[in-house]
Symmetry: C2
Subunit: 259 residues, 2 copies
């Protein structure tokens, strides 16, 4: 089971102007690939803070945000600082940025396709980095020494993640399969369900059983999610099926008041 950490970067995130929906999307994708997202960290556009989080990570790191042309886009400086390298103009990245602005100018979307200093800035990558294609925007993605840097604009982030997927899979090691099943508990009172969940967890230590209390509503029907990982899909599904069967027995006991 491979660990990943997500570092989401942007003043708009730490000030609450924008909710960090990118990390939830990435976490769902990575979980489906069999990885464990050990943590998600959100920091300001500050190279020292970014470098600190990347240095502290004991896992593949995926960053989002801070790859654009403005001065406050400083993620690559943070990655370079964390790895003890410099930012250098990357010839393939220069060619990429030049091509993207030429395309936008030809389409009439920008006034001028010239490679101005702010545009050229996006092609300064940490030494030794590989370019990752960005089919949506103008800032290339970056892959370097256990760090994948994605743009912050959600549709660009998703497109560059897809382009980086072969490299990410290679970092994650052997694929594991995740099976999950939702069971309606018939109760809105977590304090009553606690004992049932505990019994299932004791009987299936490799299965994760969790009630999702997203509103406080003792009169609702709480959903319980059962999740299992295994080396192949059949084994994962079998584990979940057995845990779900046991949960139904425990829930019937709760409903009959014999829990």
């Amino acid at each position: 089971m491979s660990r990943v950490e997500i570092v989401a970067i942007g003043r708009e995130l730490v000030t609450g102007v924008v909710a960090d929906t990118n990390s939830a999307w990435l976490a769902a994708q990575l979980t489906a690939l069999g990885a464990t997202v050990a943590r998600i960290v959100v920091v300001d556009d500050d190279p020292a803070a970014i470098a600190h989080e990347i240095r502290a990570a004991r896992a593949l790191v995926i960053t989002t945000g801070g790859l654009g042309p403005t001065l406050d886009d400083r993620t690559l400086a943070g990655i370079a600082a964390a790895r003890g390298t410099r930012l250098v103009e990357h010839p393939a990245a220069v060619a990429f940025v030049a091509r993207r602005y030429a395309e936008l100018a030809a389409a009439g979307l920008v006034a001028d396709g010239a490679l101005t200093p702010p545009r050229r800035k996006m092609a300064r990558l940490p030494e030794g980095a590989e370019l990752v294609d960005n089919p949506v925007g103008t800032a290339p993605g970056v892959f370097v020494d256990g760090v994948v840097a994605l743009p912050g604009v959600p549709e660009e982030m998703r497109a560059v993640f897809a382009a980086a997927l072969p490299r990410i899979r290679a970092c994650l090691g052997p694929e594991t399969y995740v099976a999950e099943r939702d069971v309606q508990s018939g109760s809105g009172d977590e304090s009553v369900l606690a004992t049932a969940l505990e019994h299932v967890t004791d009987a299936f230590p490799d299965v994760h059983v969790k009630s999702f209390a997203t509103t406080f509503a003792p009169d609702c029907d709480l959903r319980i999610r059962i999740t299992a990982r295994a080396g192949d899909r059949d084994a994962a599904e079998a584990l979940v099926a057995r845990a779900a069967a046991r949960l139904e027995v425990e829930l019937a006991r709760v409903r009959s008041g014999k829990a």
Copy 2:
């Protein structure tokens, strides 16, 4: 200017089942109070991971999630571990939980208001903790040694934050004022705006100027947010007004192609 760190706790967050909207709400509230949210960290329901993040924080910490009755609600164990203390049954918390379930039973929302072990679990707080009222749910909020623990269910989180506000304000020290203003740039091309933003930032080093690129759309009208902090409201507003005036001059130059 006071620093705060937010630690959001829950398997549903690190697996991307739920987006962490609580932290964005808290970050906006804290920023409006003049605090700086230094980082937001999302971790699993794991006391060791929770303790690690709380120990690493150099600021007031606000946690969300993990206060409920089920076994995977382990935030208070993480806080106790970080502070080198134990969880002990807190008499006022026992009285609070007993009262809330008695109220729910009287309203017919739970079958039985008895103080069962899962319910009593919510009253085991880190030694030395103070209770914070939860007018919505059944788990009390907790204030202890630089840590404020809020529930994870959004409406409970907001209500307990409001109840904890006097204590949070006291931790934040002297109030600072934040003024902000949004300016439409008249351009969708951040690479063209970069120079204008740089000139304003150079002229007003205490003012933060940022373009919000939330979609890649070179033909749109990007919004620029100007933010300033000061000891009183008038000073903050005056700073923002001066920076906005300068930004308009710079943007006019961009539009005339003389940037």
